[in-house]
Amino acid sequence: MTNRERALNILHYKPVDRLPAVHFGYWPELLSQWAEEGKIPSHIPEQWYDGGPADRELDNLIGWDFNWYHTVSPNNGLFPAFESRVLEVFADGTRRVMNGDGLIERVKPGVTSIPSEDGYTLRDRESFETLYRGKMQYSPERVDAAFFSAFNDTREKDVPIGLHLGSILGNIRNITSVVGMSYLMYDEDESLFADIVDTYAEMQYRCAEEVLKTGASFDFAHYWEDICFNNGPLIDPEKFEDLCAKHYRKRNELCRRYGIDIISLDCDGVTEKLLPVWFENGVNTMFPIEVGTWGDQFEPARKRFGRGMLGVGGMDKTAFRKDRAAVDREIDKMKRLSAMGGFIPCPDHRLMPGTKFELVQYYAEEIKKITP
């Protein structure tokens, strides 16, 4: 079986010869660490990206079958983006910059942490109408038809490839910051925030539709949201449903019309309160599951939603910083979860600094010995 066949069979509850050994990439600091330790060639940290040649080279070194996060995307952000510019430079090297979304951030050279949000441009109806609405419209430049048409049925199909659908609310949170989003929802007339969500979502729908019209075929579709944190959602779930449910439904129905029946979503944090909105409107795959960082779990979701809820993830990556016994416990857990069907083990999110190269090799080797 090819790795693609293995993955798709599992997510359709069909038999396979063994589990595929899949991952979700690495923090840049880890690749540098491994290069310094002499575990990997020195060019990999600079050249690595999800699904790229350096990623495949690393797959072979470690023993992975493939990186699950192999998606292609139209330009479904602001277009044209704001011109990024430095607004201020502080004595310690920290820079206050406006990014392509119009968000003002504090960034510091050498610090790879998520930046500090320091201001925002989308503040009210006037700024939306004059600065943003035009950048949220569909235009043909957003979809490179020649690029996407290469993803047709004749392409080599050794690994699953996904269509990135963008997000319904995550991109808007990126534009406004959490604080700005909160104020926009409550300070302005109620129609403004809904108008922003609808405008952005309609453009992203059109992008997905135009990609699919090129004849491109995909094994799954994928959203990114990051709209939860360690205490639950960043927004009232009822408000989230009012604003977003119809857009998920419409975009997911489009995907199904084009034969895509695996639709995953990546959301940081504890997602329990938002899962019903996603699941009831066509999102059917948790990827990743964020066991290690956020304490999320797949089993409760499976019990709650039944076999229609699929999963890719669930392996606590922090075990790779410990010892073989900790990895063995995770492998035992992966055996149990895989036996339920519709579940592919994967370390949850990027492998982090401190990860022991040999333990990752061991895990990949052992996972391939499991027949679910």
Binding site: V111, S113, V179, N230, D268
Partner: protein
Amino acid sequence: MGANTVEIINEISEKLQKGKAKEVTALVAEALEKGVSPESILNEGLISGMNIIGEKFKRNEAFVPEVLIAARAMNEGLKVLRPALAGAGVKPLGKAVICTVKGDMHDIGKNLVKMMIEGQGIECIDLGVDVAPERVVEAVKESGAKIVCLSALLSTTMMGQKDVIDALKAAGIRDQVKVMVGGAPVTQQFADEIGADCYTLDAASAAQAARAFFEE
């Protein structure tokens, strides 16, 4: 308290919970004009309102946006109230130093905790983001703060919390402060391992824990 006083203080609390900053500001001014004591306005109006929204936040009945707009209303109300509090000799419950640790620029969690702690009547000395351990030690010495709150978003930066604890020990002031830690990757187990005094899951619990330290 007379009926009118109770009514206006309750109204301050209710408007604060709904994040109505302008109305809170106006009500605080009106209450002062009517002779309501600044301390009552603070404790039974503003802090009480923040406590209610904090409890709802803990129970997932209110969410980050509601906390943010309530905290903003509290701050606006405090701007009007602060001169009267000073005039009446009402002092903050105590002082807390707060920051995100070295290498961590992300401060939403830190800002939420700060807002909630201020909502308990505690003065916060906010050192900002990416703060070196030595700077925390310096701030504790300068301010006499009894609490240090350390935030870390990432598994790559959480060890910075231990570095601050080590720096407090090296400076000989570890016993003078309670160290509170939080952030996405932080757990009770991690807090115990690094010798922190307190870990809480959410901002509202952090604020309550901070208040409890001052009331010990």
